[in-house]
């Protein structure tokens, strides 16, 4: 009987708290989005599973000695995991479209307006009773507008570890929602004629230019924005390995096995931050709302910038491609292509949208570096 009592006390049933139950439902919800809705499953599946594990009473996954505790401390506390993801993404990224048409960098810049608008928004939310965000919190929340998961995780781990779970979930969820959030904004800000604009075919980019590009980006980041070099540096390393053509072994590993392993653990570690005491508070609603606003603003400013550029530039620019500037590679570029095809079934914008799309990755890494420099 005593043994049975011990066993009963060792069941979770005797120890569950309401918050934990709710958070496990949140975890199941994330798994549903990942598996059934196919929302960024590579991240949301491990995040959702991590949320399940971390909220089990007594199992101690996230306490000292637990697996998720180690994974978080080693991988996210140090910032190593997002940097490795960035290296892998760099090794998967082809900057050809951007090198062929470098003015697209302006669209990648314009779409980061969402980040800075959100920063103001988060600070203003302090006036709402019950919400309290420090400047660091606000900066970490704002980066959701960058539409780039690893950048958001990296910045949040440095500035607001307590909000990391919420921020990461918001970032990846909205990245998955790009096909729903962006098209209405894109259509509202453009005329059917603008959406039909055809763009000149891109010139061929030589291998040498592709090799020099990541080095030039790194050099400029070093000179002007050293706080951005961890992110930009690892991204450029991955890209250089890809383009150099002499270390294909390393490049393939970086963009396959290494990024896969890191993705599993990054997701679990992020999920381990989805505990009731950190997620079930008014701030979370504020963060989710701000994230949506940031995405919408970034999309809008990207499109508007493209309209301005189309007006003052010799070459035609379809304003839709501005929306790809938020990053969310390659989803945003595909959305641009799809909306463009609705206006003109023979106008394929995908390659033209890849330029602002990868520019958006650089743009949000740069913005992260600026936020780090300003608030840290």
């Amino acid at each position: 009987m005593e043994k049975l009592e011990i066993l009963w006390q060792s069941t979770a049933l005797a120890h569950f708290e309401t918050g934990q139950v709710i958070m496990m439902l949140v975890g199941l919800g994330l798994l549903y989005l990942a598996i059934v809705k196919k929302f960024e499953p590579l991240l949301l599946l491990p995040i959702g599973f991590g949320a399940l594990l971390t909220n089990i009473p007594l199992a101690g996954f996230s306490e000292v000695g637990g697996l998720l505790h180690y994974v978080y401390e080693i991988g996210i506390g140090t910032g190593v995991f997002p940097l490795l993801i960035f290296m892998g993404v760099g090794a998967m990224t082809d900057f050809g479209a951007l090198i062929a048409n470098p003015r697209m960098l302006l669209l990648g810049a314009a779409a980061q307006f969402g980040i800075f608008a959100t920063l103001i928004g988060a600070i203003l939310l302090n006036y709402v009773p019950g919400l309290e965000f420090t400047l660091k919190d606000a900066a970490a929340i704002a980066i959701i507008g960058g539409a780039d998961g690893p950048t958001a995780i990296f910045l949040a781990s440095k500035l607001a570890p307590d909000l990391l779970g919420t921020i990461a979930v918001a970032a990846y969820s909205y990245m998955a929602l790009v096909p729903i959030i962006q098209p209405p904004i894109m259509k509202a800000l453009t005329s059917p004629e603008e959406r039909q604009i055809k763009m000149a075919q891109l010139r061929v980019v030589s291998r040498r230019e592709k090799i020099i590009f990541p080095l030039a980006v790194l050099l400029m980041t070093i000179l002007f924005l050293p706080t951005a070099t961890p992110l930009v540096g690892m991204f450029c390393l991955g890209n250089l390995m890809k383009e150099a053509g002499v270390v294909d072994r390393l490049s393939n590993t970086a963009q396959n096995e290494l990024i896969n392993v890191v993705t599993i653990f990054l997701g679990l570690a992020v999920g381990s931050k989805l505990s009731a005491d950190k997620f079930l508070k008014a701030e979370t609603l504020g963060i989710l709302a701000l994230g949506a606003v940031a995405f919408a603003i970034g999309t809008a400013t990207g499109v508007l910038m493209a309209k301005v550029m189309n007006k003052y530039s010799k070459a035609d620019i379809n304003p839709l491609v501005g929306a790809a500037g938020v990053s969310a590679v390659p989803m945003a570029a595909r959305v641009v292509n799809k909306v463009g095809l609705q206006a003109n079934p023979h106008n394929f914008l995908l390659m033209h949208a890849m330029g602002p799309n990868v520019a958006g990755v650089l743009g949000s890494a740069v913005a992260a570096g600026i936020l780090l420099a300003l608030v840290n």
Binding site: L98, I99, P102, R103, L105, L106, G108, A109, A110, Q112, F113, I115, F116, A117, L119, I120, S206, R207, R208, E209, I212, F213, A216, V217, M220, F224, L225, G245, V246, V247, D248, R249, A359, L362, G363, V366, A367, I370, L371, L374
Partner: protein, 70 residues
């Protein structure tokens, strides 16, 4: 906010200049045609690579199998 956004723009505009500069220099100094940069020779050399035989054998076997069945 304005400062931040401004720096993003300044930085990426500088980068436009840099890319254009690279493209300009690239046009000026034509890439020497290097016969040893053909696709086949781009693989990094590595000690005693032996992973070539297996897939080729597998493919050959697969082809053989395929032919027999079709």
């Amino acid at each position: 906010m304005i400062v931040g956004m401004g720096v993003v723009f300044v930085f990426l505009t500088l980068m436009i200049g840099a890319v254009n500069l690279i493209a300009f220099i690239n046009r000026k100094i034509p890439e020497e045609s290097s016969p040893n940069q053909s696709p086949t020779s781009r693989r990094a050399p590595s000690a005693n690579r032996q992973d070539n035989g297996a897939p080729v054998a597998a493919i050959a076997a697969a082809i053989h199998q395929y032919r027999k069945n079709h």
